[in-house]
């Protein structure tokens, strides 16, 4: 390297800097543009829930500047400050759906992570032989469930559930949701377990622990981040599920998405209350997304890099 290149800007250097800046500019423009695309619908819905009819019609956007926020939408849900104390059937309805969604999502995620982790651990450590099936066949059997479109199971399940008296019950949905997220959990957990060295358990076995003892006391704590990732991913998927919920539940145990969808048809004109309802349905997920973003990304990236 010559001295001139270090101390003076040669034309080549300047060209390089211009190029660097324009590259930077392009990257940031893209990022900011996409961030707006991602966030604007959320913002729009939130502000709409505080609008009065004329504000919605005029397409006003910025609160306090071109419209005055009112609790109109939230009042119709019974969730605004002045209606907190009062009785509200809509709120009772909303809270019931919310509770259904929460119970179903959490239970099925716990079940899926429990079953899935066990299976993934077994498949990553021992070699099996069920009839003609070996480890890779068993793994494929589990993962191939991903391809199965829910619609294939839906109608037979409807009939079966009717016979089993599981129609419109939470248990029925929990079972199906567990089934639908199980392959994803197994996929994530298999990746997680195979990154843990086998020497750890071998040492534990020498120390006199049983296979299950070693699994519970040694492996599980190490695999915890993966389990959290799988759990959150399942939680998101089951919370949002609509198809089975719409088909298999009616009055007693339907979930929040079903409520949102049914309101769209019936009172499509009262924008503010729909906006409030939609926002209430996505709010928990926004919180999860912001707080636990690291785990979600980890979970989704698990399968990508081998």
């Amino acid at each position: 390297m010559t001295q001139t290149q270090i101390f003076h800007d040669s034309p080549a250097d300047r060209a390089h800097r211009v190029k660097w800046f324009s590259g930077r500019l392009a990257v940031y423009t893209l990022l900011i543009l996409w961030a707006i695309i991602c966030l604007f619908p959320i913002y729009w819905t939130l502000t709409t829930s505080f609008k009065m009819a004329p504000d919605v019609m005029k397409g006003n956007m910025v609160p306090w500047v071109d419209f005055t926020p009112k609790w109109l939408g939230w009042k119709s849900l019974g969730l605004s400050p002045d209606t907190w104390g009062a009785e509200s059937t809509v709120r009772a309805e909303f809270l019931k759906r919310f509770a259904n969604s929460a119970i179903i999502a959490v239970t099925s995620s716990v079940l899926a992570v429990a079953l899935g982790s066990l299976a993934a651990y077994g498949l990553s450590r021992f070699s099996y032989k069920f009839a003609w099936m070996r480890n890779s066949d068993i793994s494929f059997f589990f993962l191939s469930q991903l391809i199965l479109p829910p619609v294939v199971l839906a109608l037979p399940m409807l009939v079966l559930y009717k016979e089993l008296a599981l129609l419109d019950t939470r248990i029925g949905l929990i079972l199906l949701y567990t089934l639908s997220v199980l392959p994803i959990v197994i996929w994530i957990m298999r990746d997680q377990f195979s990154s843990i060295p086998t020497e750890l358990e071998e040492a534990a076995l020498v120390d006199g622990l049983s296979i299950w003892g070693a699994f519970v006391t040694i492996i599980l704590p190490i695999a915890l981040p993966g389990m959290v990732a799988a759990f959150i991913l399942s939680l998101v998927l089951t919370w949002n599920e609509y198809f089975f919920a719409a088909l298999l539940t009616s009055t007693h145990s339907n979930t929040l998405p079903v409520m949102v969808a049914s309101q769209t048809g019936s009172q499509g004109i009262s924008w503010w209350s729909m906006a409030a309802l939609a926002w209430a349905a996505i709010f928990p997920l926004i919180i999860i997304g912001v707080v636990l973003e690291r785990y979600i990304i980890k979970g989704m990236a698990a399968g990508a890099v081998k």
Partner: protein
């Protein structure tokens, strides 16, 4: 093991001999039988059985919830079964198949799926660009990552309302206003078939681009830094370095991401049901949403099941071919 046999026997006769009012007891016996089977494994095979115990619960669970309904579905696919009528099930042989051949809306929905799947290529290009931008040295990386991730977290039904019903509202929705400002006189997004289809594609893409982006980003971060430096030393400029180093390295990850995305796309239904319910004229129908409406309108379980079964066969064949194809293009270059 005796216990297992007893439970098994009860399972077989449970519904046939005593007249229970529904089939629930069969479910309970199945669960008991499953537990006995697991316990029996440990008693019989000892150490080996304990290993089996890891996989067995999940396997039993999946078998009972997929294989059994699938077999059951095969039976009802060839019957005329209207759940709301009191007649119950009646076997009607190939009548359903004949009806399916003559059903233009079903094949139209099938064709729509092809278009929807093709749209994934565009999603992939956008996701790749975003992943590259996120992987560059930028400030506020965490903010952008969270912002980009959010669409994936939101419930598709709520999103359908937020975007499909509210923001695309032709009179005052912000996107419609934007369209009008750009010179589109009559921004109705669900009026003509192709625009409606494209709108559904865009909404679905909005939800799922983050998913592909994260997978690609993970792949980008796994590429060793030295490779880029080596390419730079060899005098490759950014564009060439991308096509000759980054892109080939990313091929396996890309294929995985696209395949998984296709699998998710084939299940697409909730947005369509919530926004257009298939219209205009079935232009936005997916197979799933079509069967859903078919059931809602006529509650004929038999016909719907047959359609779903045919769909499953088509999917399995298509996915097998795709995987073979993917294997072939990813092998020689890596």
């Amino acid at each position: 093991m005796l216990l297992v046999a007893a439970a098994q026997l009860l399972h077989m006769t449970g519904s046939a001999e005593f007249g229970f009012e529904n089939w629930r007891p069969t479910l309970y016996t199945y669960i008991t039988w499953a537990i006995c089977l697991c316990w029996g494994q440990v008693l019989l095979h000892g150490e080996h059985g304990k290993r089996t115990l890891f996989v067995l619960p999940a396997a039993l669970f999946v078998i009972s919830l997929t294989v059994f309904p699938l077999l059951f579905g095969l039976i009802i696919a060839f019957s005329d079964w209207n759940l709301s009528s009191p007649d119950g099930r009646s076997f009607n042989g190939l009548e359903n198949v004949r009806q399916m051949w003559a059903d233009p809306f079903y094949w139209n929905a099938m064709l729509n799926m092809v278009w929807y799947v093709l749209a994934i290529l565009v999603e992939y290009a956008i996701a790749f660009a975003l992943a590259l931008a996120l992987n560059a040295e930028i400030r506020a990386r965490k903010f952008f990552r969270v912002a980009f991730l959010l669409p994936l977290m939101l419930s598709p039904v709520a999103v359908s309302w937020m975007i499909g019903k509210s923001m695309l509202e032709p009179r005052f929705g912000p996107i419609a206003s934007l369209g009008r400002a750009l010179g589109w006189d009559d921004p109705s997004f669900f009026g003509s078939p192709w625009i409606a289809k494209a709108t559904i594609m865009v909404m679905d893409a909005w939800t799922f681009i983050p998913f592909m982006m994260i997978m690609i980003l993970a792949g980008l971060q796994a590429i060793p830094k030295e490779l880029h430096e080596a390419a730079k030393v060899d005098g490759a400029n950014g564009w060439r370095a991308f096509w000759e180093v980054t892109f080939p390295m990313m091929l396996p990850v890309s294929i995985t991401a696209i395949l998984i995305r296709i699998i998710f796309k084939l299940k697409l239904a909730d947005i369509v049901i919530a926004v257009t319910s298939g219209g205009p004229g079935g232009a936005t129908d997916t197979v799933t949403s079509f069967i859903f409406r078919e059931y809602r309108d006529r509650s004929n379980v038999g016909y719907g099941t047959l359609l779903a079964m045919v769909y499953l066969v088509v999917i399995v064949i298509a996915m097998t071919l795709l995987m073979k194809f993917a294997e072939r293009i990813s092998r020689p270059r890596t």
